[in-house]
């Protein structure tokens, strides 16, 4: 079974991937009003994510949702720098450990948009 993680691109993120070769992977949703890159996640990778972040879950569309903000932000950063290796990189024990700690802080405070 394969699953999907959608990385949402706001204007800033979209500008960061311009010219990186990732532009071809961008999908427009809702009449092109929202841009996303869908990453395919294997069963093993999905298990690792769900184990690390107990609030995350797989929805009816087979999308992995409710992962911590810090995880999604780092996944985007790694996508820009490491391309297709982003998922393997973020699921390394060291990186996952760091993100688990950050996600606990997120439970108490998230900066509101300005």
């Amino acid at each position: 079974m394969e699953y999907i993680i959608s990385i949402v691109l706001d204007e800033d993120r979209f500008n960061r991937i311009r010219g990186s070769g990732l532009e071809g992977k961008v999908k427009g949703l809702f009449g092109g009003t929202l841009k996303v890159i869908d990453l395919t996640v294997t069963e093993e990778q999905a298990k690792k994510i769900l184990d690390a972040f107990p609030k995350s879950r797989i929805d009816a569309r087979k999308h992995i949702e409710e992962t911590p903000v810090s995880f999604r932000r780092e996944l985007f950063n790694l996508l820009v720098t490491k391309g297709d290796d982003a998922l393997n990189e973020i699921l390394s024990d060291k990186k996952l450990g760091e993100l688990k700690s950050l996600s606990l802080e997120e439970d108490d405070y998230l900066t509101p948009p300005s």
């Binding site: 959608s6 949402v8 706001d10 949703l29 809702f30 009449g31 009003t33 929202l34 609030k55 879950r57 929805d59 009816a60 569309r61 999308h63 949702e65 409710e66 992962t67 903000v69 999604r72 932000r73 439970d107 108490d108 405070y109 998230l110 900066t111 509101p112 948009p113």
Partner: protein, 447 residues
């Protein structure tokens, strides 16, 4: 008026309960019991004051009491009160047995119930009875063996409603309850408080004969808005005159939207004209959700019929959490009944059943071919559907990304951000729960 005309239904049981009594003299010898929240793993899952409010203000009519053992037994066997009217859940006032002993509470006593240290309500104790909480929890929600027509998975501690019953003390006080000192709602809640007598008066004032109820525990996205608008087209000779949004306000789960944003988010929909405010009213009912799927839908029907609604919309997975119930069991109940729960026909068709009419709805999605939000039963492009689930939208919000207007109204997003700033978090977290359950939705004066 003709044979097609639908009029405001009578309250469930024929008469609204009025359990608010002023000028009651509280005798010093009455035992006084402070209402305490029920806690599971450090999180408040229930505060029985909300049930007392809903009983006393008539939302649960004809129920005017905490149930005695024989009434609970009838509810669990037949989903009916002792007088025969349909009712889905045991409403139990469980108390720590040491407190009962310490206060020497006996059957026949009047017990003063205090809230935030002040007199709040009186309970006329008819029966002090013992029960097995785990057994009551299983019988309340059903099991895959006994209720295969609805229950897909055994209930456990991850289910908030099951936990409410399973965590009870095992000793209950049954009897009539009434409020003797009306609490005052905090400003953010007050304008949404429409107990049945008031909502019925408001409907009449607005000239609403047919009113469709929308159950909510979420801020509205465009799927909800389309659901409301389309479901309202069910009426009689014309679409419903009004849409009543009724938010369940009570104990929350981590990650839910905060009650303040839910209420004001729905209000923003009419305030900014997306639904004409002359046809839309946002209200609330105090209740710690049991997430009982089809059973909860019966309670919703009772509450909204009592409020004066003629129709009730039921979507997929109504009032459920997790995968305990079949996602279509609520719609199946309102079409043909759920015999394993003693409900052999739709609650609308049963003797002493409900007079509110179900409107079973499916899903709304964005269709890139139609180029609009489309209804799953009329759009033939299901393979291209772009769905916007609540969790997807919560993910966007948490990342600080404003969802596009085609799936989320910007004014509703602004309300979320307003309360995000207030609580330093966009959703319910432990800090919010601590504040909410300490402060509650009301204040109460010393008397």
């Amino acid at each position: 008026m003709n044979s097609l005309t639908i009029n405001t239904p009578e309250p469930h049981g024929g008469k609204l309960v009025n359990g608010v009594r002023n000028n009651v003299i509280v005798k010093k010898e009455y035992p006084a019991l402070e209402i305490e929240p029920e806690v599971d793993m450090g999180i408040v899952i229930r505060n029985v004051y909300r049930e007392i409010m809903s009983i006393a203000y008539g939302f649960f009519s004809p129920l005017d009491r905490f149930m005695t053992s024989n009434e609970v037994e009838r509810v669990l066997k037949e989903r009916r009160l002792l007088d025969g009217w349909i009712f889905p859940f045991p409403i139990i006032f469980d108390v720590n047995p040491e407190k009962i002993r310490g206060l020497s509470i006996r059957e026949g006593d009047s017990v003063l119930l205090k809230l935030k240290g002040n007199p709040f309500a009186m309970l006329e104790v008819e029966e002090i009875w013992k029960f097995n909480p785990r057994e009551i929890a299983d019988r309340t929600f059903g099991t895959p063996d006994k209720n295969p027509d609805a229950v897909k998975r055994a209930f456990d501690h991850k289910h908030p409603g099951w936990s409410i019953y399973a965590k009870m003390s095992g000793v209950a006080l049954g009897g009539k309850v009434y409020i003797i000192n009306e609490p005052k709602f905090k400003a953010v809640y007050e304008r949404f408080w429409y107990p049945p007598e008031k909502s019925r008066t408001e409907f009449a004032k607005r000239g609403w004969r047919t009113v469709i109820a929308h159950q909510t525990r979420n801020v509205p996205h465009m799927g909800h808005e389309h659901l409301m608008k389309q479901a309202a087209f069910m009426g009689d000779t014309e679409p419903c005159n009004g849409i009543l949004v009724n938010a369940i306000v009570g104990s929350k789960r981590l990650g839910d939207f905060v009650d303040e944003a839910i209420l004001e988010g729905h209000e923003a929909v009419d305030k900014f004209g997306y639904i004409n405010p002359a046809r839309h009213l946002v209200s609330m009912t105090l209740w710690d959700m049991r997430y009982g799927g089809p059973l909860e839908s019966i309670l919703h029907g009772i509450v909204r019929q009592n409020m004066g609604c003629t129709h009730h919309m039921f979507g997929r997975d109504h009032a459920a959490t997790g995968d305990y119930y079949d996602p279509y069991s609520t719609q199946a109940l309102w079409e043909n009944g759920l015999p394993s729960f003693g409900l052999n026909a739709s609650p609308f068709d049963m003797d002493k059943g409900l007079k509110i009419r179900p409107v079973n709805m499916q899903e709304f999605w964005y269709c890139p071919v139609c180029g609009e939000i489309a209804y799953s039963r009329t759009c033939a492009h299901g393979d291209r559907a772009e769905r916007f689930s609540g969790s997807f939208i919560r993910g966007l919000i948490a990342e600080g990304i404003k969802p596009p207007p085609i799936i989320f109204r910007p004014e509703v997003y602004d309300i979320i951000v307003k309360w995000w700033r207030e609580f330093r978090y966009p959703f319910v977290n432990k800090r919010y729960l601590e504040i909410k359950e300490k402060e509650l939705e009301v204040d109460i004066e010393a008397k």
